[in-house]
């Protein structure tokens, strides 16, 4: 709330709409200063706690119990906490993004889109309609969605499950290539995806800190392509394996 009031106050300060990035490089927060590093350590620490020491977050979880009971009927756990904070960050910083770019209709619509997809399709629906299924994440990003085990699970859970599996398959192999051919990766990364939503809202005041050297671009290309390759191989292996009575992976089982 405090942040929102602050952003609206900025409206008064710079009444003429337009790209305003003044002083970003002078601020400790946005120019890798002390505040920036403290924030980085805090955020990384959050992930460490959530993944490896969730018991330390028990007290924080309790704060979110009322909300969790309303949405899911269960007490809050670390994943509920994470999802809630993640969504709040996107909504609050999304509001900031809209205020900053109020001269630009494209940015306004796009920001509303990522806020909507995060709140509804990546938070509310998985929370209290279809447990844990994200309509907006596809293979290879969510590679387990097209694993044989998910197929079995979804098909067995009836009509809705079948729909979800085919949705995942169609989006991965038909919709994504077509949309990407026409619009580039932005249709997904900055309109739909929760990761992109984070980058385009909370990440916006920090984007100037990205490494633009040729070297980092080379590393990035090697990384994304090798991850894609690994996912393709794993998925293919699992399918070959499942249709051949554990032919390939048998020896790894004990």
């Amino acid at each position: 709330m405090g942040a929102l009031i602050f952003f609206f106050a900025q409206l008064k300060e710079s009444p003429v709409a337009g790209v305003k990035k003044n002083n970003l490089m002078f601020l400790s927060m946005t120019n890798r200063g002390m505040l920036g590093w403290m924030t980085a350590v805090f955020l990384t620490g959050m992930y460490v706690l959530i993944y490896w020491f969730p018991e330390l977050l028990e007290n924080v979880n309790r704060i979110f119990d009322p909300l969790s009971y309303t949405l899911t009927g269960n007490p809050a756990n670390q994943w509920f906490l994470y999802g809630t904070l993640y969504t709040i960050a996107i909504l609050v910083m999304g509001a900031r993004m809209i205020i900053h770019n109020r001269h630009n209709k494209y940015q306004i619509i796009r920001t509303i889109s990522v806020m909507f997809f995060q709140l509804v399709l990546a938070y509310l629906i998985p929370m209290f309609i279809v447990n844990g299924f994200f309509f907006t994440y596809f293979w290879p990003l969510k590679f387990e969605y097209l694993f044989p085990s998910s197929y079995d699970y979804l098909i067995q859970s009836g009509g809705i499950g079948m729909f979800m599996f085919f949705w995942a398959a169609v989006m991965s192999f038909i919709a994504t290539p077509i949309l990407t051919y026409f619009y580039g990766k932005r249709w997904y990364c900055s309109w739909v995806c929760g990761c992109g939503a984070m980058a385009e809202t909370l990440g916006d005041p920090f984007r100037q800190n990205s490494d633009k050297s040729l070297k980092s671009w080379k590393i990035e290309r090697w990384m994304v392509h090798s991850v894609l390759l690994i996912i393709i191989i794993i998925t293919a292996l699992l399918w070959i394996n499942s249709t051949n009575d554990n032919f390939i992976l048998k020896r790894f089982y004990k």
Partner: protein
Amino acid sequence: MNIVIIGNGITGITAARNIRKRSNHRITVISSESKYFFSRTALMYVYMGHEKFNNIQPYEDWFWEKNKIDLIQDHVTYIDTENKRIDLAGGIAVIYDKLIIAAGSKSNKFGWKGQDLHGVQGLYSLQDLELLEDNTKNISRCVIVGGGLIGIELAEMLRSRNISVSMLVREKSYWNSILPERESEMINRHIMEHHIDLRLSCELIEIVGGENKKVRSVITSEGDEIECELVGLTAGVSPNTNVIKNTKIESNRGILVNEFLETNIADIYAAGDCAEFKKGFPFRKNIEQVWYTGRIQAEALAQSVCGKRTAYEPGVWFNSAKFFDIEYQTYGLVNMNIEDEKNLYWEDSSGRKSIRIVYTKDGVIGFNLMGIRYRQEVCIKWIEEKRSIEFVLQNLGEANFDPEFFKQHEADLLEIFNSENTGKKIILRKKRGLDRFLKQSKLSH
């Protein structure tokens, strides 16, 4: 062959890169301003905190060694054209077979009283920017003299640090030697919207000094005295001809060259801001002090230096800039008072966007856009092909290059044309959209 380039701005560096693409000649670039090439037009964003200096260097530091372009950061003191030798302030001398002078500009000072006081400066070089940092520490008032592109940039820079700005403009409206009246008025309004004390038809008479030879105030032609701690002199730039002092290289205001960018001395060329064409091109100035023309000149020059004598062909004029929040693009002949020219002009009710098309009975000759983006290649092609105003209006959607979802105003312009020309009923054939996009991507693949 030994090729030496004096100046590492857009002209010098474009020449170096294009010579390297075409040859294995030894290339040496000398600059006293900075070791590495940087984007001069982005200097303002360093001051405003959008970028750091290393962010406005388009090439990483390893680029020059990898491409075997030697860089020397030093000041040229003398060019010995007889022995083909350049003396540097650092004490060393450099031998050349061919020499390119691309030394850029320097800020105009018109002999105003007090122009050398502390706190009086221009804005052109990296050193000027560093000086500005020093000069604007803990100050609150500034006067800018001159209403051009650099003046308005300086105003925006100072406003980003909450320094109040008075802007003295000699003309009766901002930059009206270039901008047509309506667009110029638009920028007047926009300048004032940014809380700048804009004084039109107002000249600098004198800069008054205080203690320690520091600027204290300026006196204007209207008799006002404006107190200030900084005076920005932005009344244009002129060619930097310091390097050819005491040589036989001919110069007028700039270093004189022909259309091949050759000076009067064999194997010595000049290009970019510092060059002056002996015989100008139609509708063009003899001295072109624009980023784009420097680049185009350098590309032609690189061919000549590598053995294929190539004349500079200016092509259809184009330029772009930004006045605070209003982007500006221009193509072809605008505000030139061409015989029988007609102007079709539309302005948004917000007063921040406009489209102007200039045409004669022989076809369209110019475009001027404020706050709206048009595709350069489309506008230039229409001008080159001398397309009729009717054709251009029908297909105007093809030129629109605003982001998706932006309101398109081409139909408004057509409506004005139809109402001004009774009997005409031009219909907008192409709105921009997916089909245009599809065709384009087919072409590019």
